[in-house]
Symmetry: C2
């Protein structure tokens, strides 16, 4: 994924150079690449050609990267550490970071429109639609807005879940969906099972994020630990306590694995990713 | 266009409400709608169905609106007046304005992917590609980056033109292109003539913007006048002087009209828009 993304981002020598350097800085050299890995793992269910999955996975990862750059800006989370490096606006400047996020989002849609991703342009439009809905005001950006509004408030667990289904979950579900759309069509039960898997994994990812933010050291995380408590944000740890939050993550893990049973051996990578999402230390 | 955009934007009652209200605030109730008008005028050359042009024109206008919201932020131009109203981050807050811009960009691509815009999905992908390239780091966002780098520097006229071809020109060209793609295919000479027209109009638009920024009062402009001089930005007025800048705009106007000759009467609206772009007072 690192070399794929490096090849798809504008070259650093290309004008405007500072913007292109900053775009590469924000995307390359770090990140767990969970969304691309999910796209590849899901693509194994539909025998999708690798090059197509590379493009689709990159588009999803670019949306994720843009959201991190904007999320770290002073007017949002005001963070200066990301993936163990200074955040984009610290390394460059705020205006450049703003444009980096903007241009990374555009590039994501450009990739999906430009490259041949499947056998039918109509399916390709469907991929674009899925990514746009996942990223927009009823998906990731909407989740961010709910997050903003929730600072200093006490949410219920269902309200917290609603926020995360949008903020993190939508893009994770899109990664899985786009991966499968690069190949042969899944049958309806397969589609439904995979959607359930993606939903569980998306939520588990956030529950574990909350646990790690409360418990892991900054050096392991590669981003500032303890930000949630410092910013008085409701999390699964503050609402449920650490032990119950861990139980919830384990339950989602179990549900995700159960949903994969109908796929048999072809879901090996998806199972491994479910394990990683729940057991990761960073 | 006002009612079309109002219908395509998420309803204000829909969650997250504050974000959706802010998105509507940023797009509705103002704006010259030059890009949509250009899309409609160009669509008359290819007998495109009105509903399709409405969607394509809206997508272009949403990209324009997002760029204004981000451009007005404190870390960019730091402006508090736009279309005679407080800018989005003044009326709401910076974090919301950041998300508004992000979500408006996403919505633009969602519209082009979602709706039926032409008779072939492959052509629709081409429209998406055109808009993405026009908006991205080699188009509008790239032009903004060059603009940032040029503050306080002395540019040559060709360097200034290079900046504006990206910052303003790319999206204006995309508006014309998308309008025609909604209908029957243009022949090659027609395509080339229309591209030349769009290039001239895009540049003329910026030259006139520079003249108005230097000469028109804030009340007429609906945005803060004299910002370029205050921010020490190179403009056509500072580089050429007001009289020569006006001559340059007239020359571009003449070239734009000449390019339309091969279309005869069908280019009436495009001619009227060329007149408006050069003769406007705001």
């Amino acid at each position: 994924m690192e070399s794929v993304l490096a090849g798809l981002l504008p070259a650093p020598e290309l004008a405007p150079q500072r913007l292109h350097k900053a775009m590469r800085y924000a995307v390359l050299g770090g990140g767990k690449r969970v969304r691309p890995l999910l796209a590849f793992a899901a693509a194994e269910l539909t025998s999708a050609p690798a090059r197509r999955v590379e493009i689709a996975a990159s588009a999803v990862e670019l949306i994720h990267a843009y959201s991190l750059v904007h999320d770290d800006l002073p007017c949002m989370d005001d963070d200066d550490l990301r993936r163990g490096k200074p955040t984009c606006h610290v390394e460059f400047d705020e205006a450049t970071a703003l444009l980096v996020g903007d241009a990374l989002q555009t590039l994501a849609f450009q990739l999906l429109a430009h490259q041949e991703l499947c056998d039918a342009p109509a399916t390709q439009l469907e991929m674009l639609k899925h990514l746009a809905i996942a990223a927009g005001s009823r998906g990731m950006a909407g989740g961010q807005a709910i997050d903003l509004d929730s600072v200093g408030k006490s949410l219920s667990v269902p309200e917290l879940e609603f926020m995360h289904i949008h903020k993190t979950g939508a893009l994770i579900r899109a990664a899985v969906k786009l991966g499968t759309l690069c190949g042969e069509k899944l049958d309806k039960p397969g589609e439904a099972a995979l959607e359930h898997y993606a939903k569980c994994i998306g939520l588990a990812f956030q529950v574990v994020d909350d646990i790690l933010d409360a418990e892991a050291p900054t050096a392991t995380l590669g981003k500032t630990a303890g930000k949630d408590a410092e910013q008085n944000k409701p999390t699964y740890v503050t609402l449920l306590g650490a032990a119950t939050a861990r139980d919830f993550a384990d339950e989602l893990h179990h549900d995700a694995l159960a949903a994969l049973e109908i796929f048999g051996e072809r879901a090996l990578r998806l199972r491994q990713l479910a394990d990683f999402v729940v057991k990761r230390q960073y």
